[in-house]
């Protein structure tokens, strides 16, 4: 079975892929996709912190005592944090997409190395 620590390693690899897409790709839309990948990697990291292998969802069923529930459930606090973070990511993504449309309208290209009027 996949152990807990290898999940963390795969998540950090996802973060690295997102950072690579932001830095190395020149197309504007690919940079936006890179930012989205970085955000989702961090959300996954927060959920993995509260995860317990073979645990149940944090809903207390009928007839379960509090002690059993605390021993078997995954942590619900990071899930609440991640919900907020997903909404923030949605707002940022909408702003980036509308700016990409306007950039194409003004500069007639999606290549970031040609959008360089501000320098010095």
């Amino acid at each position: 079975m996949i152990g807990h620590s290898s999940l963390y390693i795969m998540d950090i690899a996802l973060l690295g892929m997102g950072l690579y897409a932001i830095i190395a790709k020149r197309h504007v839309i690919k940079k936006i996709i890179g930012v989205a990948i970085v955000e989702y990697a961090i959300n996954l990291f927060l959920i993995l912190i509260g995860y317990r292998m073979d645990g149940i969802a944090p809903i207390q069923a009928e007839g379960m005592t509090s002690a059993e529930f605390a021993k078997m459930a995954v942590d619900p606090l990071p899930q609440a944090l991640v919900l907020t973070s997903i909404v923030i990511g949605l707002g940022t993504l909408a702003l980036m997409a509308s700016q990409a449309i306007k950039l194409y309208e003004k500069y007639k290209t999606f290549d970031m190395s040609e959008i360089n009027r501000l320098r010095g």
């Binding site: 950072l19 606090l77 944090l81 980036m96 700016q99 306007k102 003004k106 500069y107 009027r117």
Partner: protein, 499 residues
């Protein structure tokens, strides 16, 4: 329980929505509601100046289960800075923003930015700080690209991508702190972290936090968005960005997390000093060769924030007072300079120094406020910049870091050089033929310029004459940082958890 604390965050948030709602009826209402809201926030922050340290439990939930709002000396000083610059920028934009369309949306975004910044300085919970930081940042991304021309869009896009990566790094730090301690409340995490030995996870979290906050405050090598974003924004937004946002979201957050939560190890302070020294020198040298007035002011901001971070990183009592005083002064003279560059652009239509000249004869208010701002930032007595820079150099000498003191004095001379160049090309010299018919700026813009000039001169003279300013505002703020450094933040923890 002091109920003003949540009101100073919730009132701008609610009035942003009300502004959009009411402006569907008549456009002029947006001006009135924005002016009223920022005036109310300014009055509330003055009222809060006299109160002692308190904590407020939102929703009645005791810490560490709920979100707490914490008010101490550092918060009082920053609330004063944020709300006064916000009020003066609103008054300025009553007449400056007439040439842009969609003025009600501008005011809504502006009020959201002020609400976000008030929330960042007031909150006592790490994840809540992330949420308010994102509110203020997203509002500023939209405001930088407000006039949708070529350069504004490019600057806003670059700022967006870099800023989102920085916020994500901060969230990584929050996650690691939660993994180590099991709570996101700052005081509770501080109590647990101070009693643990230093592990590699703590160093990783500190590195993530420092990287995120250094990008928000514009330290080298994370400064690449600043020289593009600050000139392209409309002038009151440049004043807010450079005068308040990089301090409330960058320097304050870094100081709060490093001194109160993570326990200031000497390695973190050395990192702060190194980043600050590099920014000071690089910002100063890059500003000399600029011919665009606002871009030169942006590089100068990088340099001055380097001064503040060096002084905070020294770790002595005089260092804290010097750094906080320079932060206060920088917000006043940098906003004054950005607002007067906006007036120059409003009257003459250009901000290129090669095409300006001889404004001293035609525009008395604008040129005198530019002169006051330039003299303050270069450190000429009796303006306030002289006292804060002198205190920083004295603090470096007292901590026996001779190289830093020499660098600070040298960069101060460089600052004088490029501001003298700016004044010579804009105020003195002869008027170009195309600008014979320029007029003075309208009353709301002139009101903000004159008020900020009076503040610059007044703070300098008040500091010289009597110690009340220092005792009332600077000393409680410096005590908070000192408490975090020496006493393991016991005073902060007892304010939140013990009371």
């Amino acid at each position: 329980m002091n109920h003003i604390l949540p009101l100073i965050v919730a009132i701008p948030l609610g009035m942003a929505v009300v502004t959009l709602l009411l402006s569907k009826a008549a456009k002029r209402i947006a001006d009135f509601t924005a002016f009223l809201t920022t005036a109310v926030c300014l009055v509330l922050s003055f009222v809060l100046l006299g109160t002692t340290k308190t904590a407020y439990w939102m929703g009645g939930w005791y810490p560490p289960f709920g979100i707490t709002l914490v008010f101490d000396g550092l918060t009082a000083m920053l609330l004063l800075i944020i709300n006064s610059v916000g009020f003066l920028a609103t008054v300025y934009s009553l007449s400056y923003m007439e040439k842009y369309t969609a003025k009600p949306k501008y005011y809504a975004l502006f009020l959201l930015m002020v609400a976000g910044m008030n929330g960042v300085v007031l909150t006592g919970d790490l994840f809540n700080m992330f949420v308010f930081l994102e509110i203020a940042s997203i509002a500023s991304y939209a405001l930088v690209g407000f006039g949708v021309e070529h350069e504004e869009l490019e600057a806003s896009f670059k700022y967006l991508i870099l800023g989102t990566v920085a916020s994500t790094m901060m969230l990584l730090g929050v996650g690691l702190t939660y993994a180590m301690t099991g709570t996101v409340n700052m005081a509770d995490a501080s109590r647990m972290l101070m009693s643990m030995p230093a592990t590699r996870t703590m160093a990783f979290a500190a590195g993530a936090f420092i990287m995120g906050f250094s990008l928000k405050s514009g330290l080298v090598p994370f400064h690449a968005w600043l020289p593009d974003a600050h000139p392209s924004a409309p002038a009151p937004i440049s004043a807010m960005l450079s005068g308040v946002l990089i301090k409330a979201l960058g320097v304050y957050a870094m100081a709060r997390v490093i001194f109160d939560v993570l326990g200031a190890q000497p390695i973190y302070l050395n990192i702060m000093i190194t980043l600050g020294a590099i920014s000071m020198v690089v910002g100063g040298f890059l500003a000399i060769g600029q011919w665009d007035f606002k871009r030169m002011l942006a590089y100068s901001s990088i340099s001055q924030i380097g001064y503040v971070v060096i002084a905070l990183g020294l770790g002595t009592h005089l260092g804290f007072i010097a750094g906080l005083f320079h932060m206060f002064n920088h917000s006043s003279f940098k906003s004054l300079l950005f607002l007067s560059s906006g007036s120059i652009e409003h009257s003459t239509g250009t901000k290129n120094l090669r095409r300006l000249g001889g404004l001293g004869t035609k525009l008395p208010v604008t040129s005198s406020s530019t002169a006051v701002g330039a003299l303050s930032i270069s450190g000429i007595p009796p303006f306030n910049g002289f006292f804060s820079k002198m205190l920083i150099i004295l603090a470096c000498v007292q901590a026996q870091r001779w190289v830093l003191a020499a660098l600070a004095a040298g960069v101060s001379v460089i600052t004088l050089v490029y501001f003298l160049k700016a004044m010579r090309y804009s105020i003195f010299g002869e008027l170009p033929k195309a600008q014979e018919k320029i007029k003075e700026v309208p009353f709301p813009m002139a009101f903000s310029l004159i008020t900020l000039s009076v503040i610059c001169l007044g703070i300098g003279i008040a500091f010289l004459v009597s110690p009340t300013f220092g005792d009332a505002i600077l000393k409680p703020a410096a005590d908070v940082l000192m408490d975090g450094l020496k006493n393991n933040a016991s005073s902060y923890i007892s304010t939140v958890l013990g009371g």
